[in-house]
């Protein structure tokens, strides 16, 4: 089987699969390499209430199953596997997946973002031992136990609300005194009886590595510096995401925060390489904006391949600044 494609799409969240949908409908027979976190962040959510067209919401995994089937219906080829390296310095571009080297004339990068950890070292060591970044995956293990959620955004609120149905009590730990979460999520969390908030606190240690499980958190007050302990059996981290751009280091221009730079729609710093979704968006980060940018990337790739993608004007430098 040939390993050359006109278009390869890396990633299978809303951006990657929407790009696949458009590229397949344009008869480009795209290959989608879905990656280890196939389906993206929506696979870890429950009800998605802000995807247009579903007045009662749709479950994240169900939405991704539909989107995948829709892309396949028009001929997108979706393979399991994780990209281990890419070479964007010569054409066609090379994309290595385990031991197979694929080549492509155009590339759409939709590798998304993954949950950020606390950077304590101990949090990763206790992953799966009481520290988690996925309430819907691991909440089950904390039925009837007290847990904490770290963070003040929508992800943290969603985790807290989900966990409140399982845990005896959920303590939200936030390093500021106001939440970043949307009003509707804040209201939901604050009106849940067994969710409480600890403001201006950061987690500086998680115990107990020796026992191989979480027993308590050591917190520091961001105002006074005072330390305190909070006894919990689990801690869920919801402090944001980091873009999955390590594969492209040194090959594509990035912002200081690691997100890919794009200009004139979805173009990256290498002609023929396009980016869509959270990997290049540190502002909106919504499923629907990811899908929209996936569509843009597919259209840009199609025009690139047909030789009709032209710079609108000399705007490259201006629009790619951070």
């Amino acid at each position: 089987m040939s390993t050359h494609r006109q278009v390869i799409i890396i990633g299978s969240g809303p951006a990657g699969l929407t790009a696949a949908l458009y590229a397949s409908r344009a008869n480009l027979k795209p290959l989608v390499i879905e990656g280890i976190e196939a389906g993206g962040q929506l696979m870890l959510t429950t009800m998605v209430e802000n995807w247009p067209g579903y007045r009662d919401g749709i479950m994240g995994p169900d939405l991704m199953t539909e989107l995948r089937a829709q892309a396949e219906r028009f001929g997108a080829e979706i393979i399991q596997g994780d990209v281990t390296s890419v070479n964007l310095s010569q054409r066609p571009f090379t994309v290595n997946v385990d031991k197979t080297a694929y080549t492509a004339d155009a590339l759409i990068i939709a590798t998304g973002a993954s949950a950020k950890w606390l950077d304590l070292g101990v949090d990763k060591k206790l992953s799966g031992r009481g520290v988690s970044t996925c309430a819907t995956c691991d909440g089950f293990f904390f039925k009837g136990l007290p847990v904490a959620v770290v963070g003040g955004g929508d992800t943290a609120m969603e985790e807290a609300i989900y966990l409140s149905k399982l845990a005896t009590h959920v303590t939200v730990i936030h390093r500021r005194d106001t939440l970043r979460a949307s009003k509707v999520m804040q209201d939901k969390a604050m009106s849940t009886p067994n969710i409480s908030f600890l403001w201006n606190k950061e987690v500086i240690d998680i115990k107990d590595l020796d026992q191989g499980k979480v027993t308590s958190l050591v917190l520091r007050d961001t105002q006074t510096g005072a330390q305190s302990d909070l006894a919990v059996d689990g801690v869920f981290i919801g402090i944001g995401h980091v873009p999955n751009t390590a594969l492209f280091a040194g090959q594509l221009a990035m912002h200081d925060n690691g997100y890919l730079k794009t200009h004139d729609g979805s173009r990256t710093s290498v002609p023929g390489v396009f980016a869509a979704g959270d990997v290049q968006d540190h502002v909106y980060r919504q499923a629907v904006t990811a899908a929209g940018s996936g569509c843009m990337a597919a259209i840009d790739a199609e025009r690139f391949l047909s030789g009709t993608l032209h710079d609108s004007h000399q705007s490259t430098v201006v629009s790619s600044q951070s």
Binding site: I36, E37, P61, Q80, S127, C137, F140, F141, G234
Partner: protein, 107 residues
């Protein structure tokens, strides 16, 4: 479709099943989306290491004792046993290459 080479362990037979040889156990649940992603990789490992490695799954909803005994508090978790001793704990998603390396260390 799940590989026929992947066994199903339960709380009742777990200790006996891991007693000898190298055994990889995938702890999962029907509601766990990431578990569905690692399942095909586990299937492939069962096919590729056929005869040298026993591969099995434990549904944590139906078998609460075993995950509790091994302090599994997140899924997917893969445990690797050699002659009854726990050798490796792999939490979360991993690539097939990485899992192959880990398994090869103990064969």
């Amino acid at each position: 479709m799940a590989s026929e080479k992947v066994k199903t362990f339960t709380d009742a037979n777990f200790a006996d099943e891991v007693k000898s040889g190298v055994v990889l156990v995938d702890f999962w649940a029907t509601w766990c989306a990431p578990c569905r992603r690692i399942a095909p990789i586990v299937d492939q490992l069962a096919e590729e290491f056929n005869g040298r490695l026993t591969v099995a799954k434990v549904d944590i909803d139906e078998n609460p004792m075993t995950p509790s005994k091994f302090m599994v508090r997140g899924i997917p978790t893969l445990l690797l046993f050699k002659d009854g001793d726990l050798k490796e704990t792999i939490v979360g998603l991993e690539t097939k290459d990485r899992l192959t390396q880990v398994i090869n260390k103990h064969l």
